[in-house]
């Protein structure tokens, strides 16, 4: 065995060590008590894999420049970003991972040997990497509310068409371009169509479906890395990439289940066309309540369930909510937070917001835990949530959201709904909860309303 082979064998052994660290790391990341350690282990795995690769590189200057720039930019973003901007941050980083694999595949296109399998891998890796990148950038734009575009607008329809066209072109690149070598620069066209296709893939998907898209893009970025591993014959890329692909897929499935919809329906159909249109007219009227009356009821209740939704994130009300929770507890009331898996714009969005406001995670409960005992809850306070508490999901078989698991607040003794106006939620479905006998509407900005309750408690 000569020296070069020795190095490569040694690297491969270390890659195995790194893979084991990645596997242990991601396993520990899935449990509350070990999550911090798990993240550390996975960072250690990354460091090991990168360090052992560095002993044998051709162009050190290039590597030093690239890693330094990346380290500075990445660290700055990560340390400066506000916790409320986490969803878009994750989308952005995800896009950069996809972009890196896109460039890897692009570069490999110019050095592939005459091997059909590798040729096909270059095309597929280019596509997944590129779609992950441009799709994540659009998701970033939507989450940070920098990008506002109508689902029905002409440009959306055009880009959606481009997405389907890009898929067909990928098939062409994979199956035909190798056999009948085209006279035009077909690969450059693939690069462009891929990036446009990623935009067209995400752009028609609405805000409330974002948790699914983000999880799916997360999965894609891992699969892209795993394919790049196949391309470069690199084990650690395959293992680490597959783990990410799997974890993203699990989150995607959890989110889709929480909406009782198939992934295909979320990605390609949306709510608008799934609604059958036989909306039942609501009877009865809404009963508004004032802050001081709400305070009197809360003061006399012994158990309160708070259900936050995207509205709480928009109003930035998590800190006042925590304050209210603490005052209620000081008053002898049991306070819990009911968290629906798809509340907000990304998986676990509410959990992060409440953690930022110092709410301990063990008072957060999931729908299955809280629904059976809902009738013992004195007051359910719904803050900027709508579809996830809509009783149509359990009572009205014609409703587009029928079958979706919800937090059944309508079974609580009293329900307060904090809301800006009577507009319907993301799904565009009227919410019969607002007309129920035991529901009181507290209109206005959530932050102001809760702030009012807090000051009533303090007086």
């Amino acid at each position: 065995m000569n020296f070069i082979e020795n190095i490569s064998a040694f690297q491969n052994i270390i890659y195995i060590v790194s893979s084991i660290l990645f596997i242990t790391g991601i396993k520990m990341l899935g449990k509350e008590d070990t999550a911090v350690k798990g993240n550390f282990l996975s960072a250690l795995a990354m460091f090991t894999a990168v360090a052992i690769t560095l002993i044998d590189i051709v162009n050190p200057l290039l590597v030093i420049i690239g890693i330094s720039i990346g380290a500075v930019i990445g660290s700055l973003i990560a340390l400066k970003v506000k916790m409320t901007s986490i969803p878009e941050m994750v989308a952005l980083f995800n896009g950069f991972g996809g972009l890196a694999t896109f460039f890897i595949a692009w570069s490999e296109f110019y050095s592939i040997p005459d091997n059909t399998f590798q040729y096909v891998l270059v095309m597929i890796t280019t596509y997944i990497g590129g779609v992950t990148f441009s799709g994540s950038i659009i998701a970033y734009g939507k989450l940070s509310e920098k990008l506002k575009i109508q689902k029905t607008s002409l440009i959306t329809k055009f880009l959606t068409t481009i997405f389907y066209a890009s898929l067909i072109y990928l098939l062409y690149a994979v199956f035909i371009s190798k056999i009948f070598v085209p006279s035009f620069d077909f690969y450059t066209i693939l690069l462009i169509l891929t990036l446009l296709g990623g935009i067209g893939f995400v752009i028609p998907i609405g805000g409330g479906d974002m948790p699914v898209v983000i999880s799916l893009l997360n999965s894609f970025s891992g699969i892209a890395a795993a394919f790049a591993g196949l391309l470069l014959l690199n084990n650690v890329l395959i293992v680490a990439g597959s783990l990410v692909g799997a974890s993203g897929l699990i989150l995607t499935i959890i989110m889709a289940k929480a909406m009782n919809r198939s992934i295909g329906n979320i990605l390609f159909v949306g709510y608008a066309s799934s609604s059958s249109g036989n909306k039942s007219e609501e009877t009865g009227e809404v009963k508004p309540i004032s802050v001081s009356d709400a305070y009197l009821i809360l003061e006399n209740s012994s158990s309160v369930l708070i259900i936050p939704g995207y509205g709480m994130a928009v109003a930035q009300a998590q800190h006042v909510v925590r304050e209210l929770g603490e005052l209620l507890e000081a008053n002898g009331t049991e306070v819990k937070y009911g968290i629906h898996p798809v509340a907000g714009r990304m998986p676990g969005h509410m959990n992060v917001l409440l953690a930022e406001a110092n709410v301990p995670y063990d008072v957060l409960v999931e729908p299955d835990d809280v629904n059976p005992t809902m009738d013992t809850v004195d007051v359910a306070v719904v803050i900027g949530a709508n579809d996830v508490v809509n009783p149509s999901a359990t009572e009205e078989p014609g409703s587009p959201i029928y079958g979706m698991p919800i937090i059944e607040v309508h079974n609580a003794r009293t329900v307060f709904v904090l809301k800006r106006s009577m507009s319907s939620g993301f799904a565009g479905v009227q919410n019969p909860l607002f007309f129920k006998e035991n529901t009181r509407m507290l209109f206005g900005d959530a932050k102001d309303s809760i702030g009012g309750l807090v000051s009533e408690f303090k007086d």
């Binding site: 911090v36 290039l62 990346g70 470069l232 799997a246 998986p347």
Partner: protein, 90 residues
């Protein structure tokens, strides 16, 4: 060809392992898991490091791949750590 069968085997087993390992994750950890997994996908950095740079274009592509993968790695791990530090038990 044999090597691809072997690596494909690694791919399938790893995905299966991942699905088994993470199948029951509490919703508190959905965001950190996603962000942590995202940092792991920065493993593309290792791939970027071994790219050929025979032509000028390949040199640029390698530099860009290294830079963006590094942003993903550093940013991803730091932001996950920041997030996890906020989660407290009562």
């Amino acid at each position: 060809m044999e090597i691809y069968v072997l690596l494909g085997f690694v791919l399938i087993l790893s995905i299966y392992l991942g699905l088994e390992l993470i199948s029951k994750v509490p919703s508190t950890l959905h965001t950190p898991l996603m962000s942590g997994a995202n940092a792991i996908s920065g493993i593309a950095l290792v791939g970027a490091l071994v790219l050929n740079s025979d032509t000028h274009l390949q040199e640029i592509l390698a530099l860009l791949a290294i830079t963006f993968a590094s942003i993903n790695v550093f940013g991803g791990y730091l932001v996950t750590n920041r997030m996890l530090k906020m989660f407290k038990k009562k």
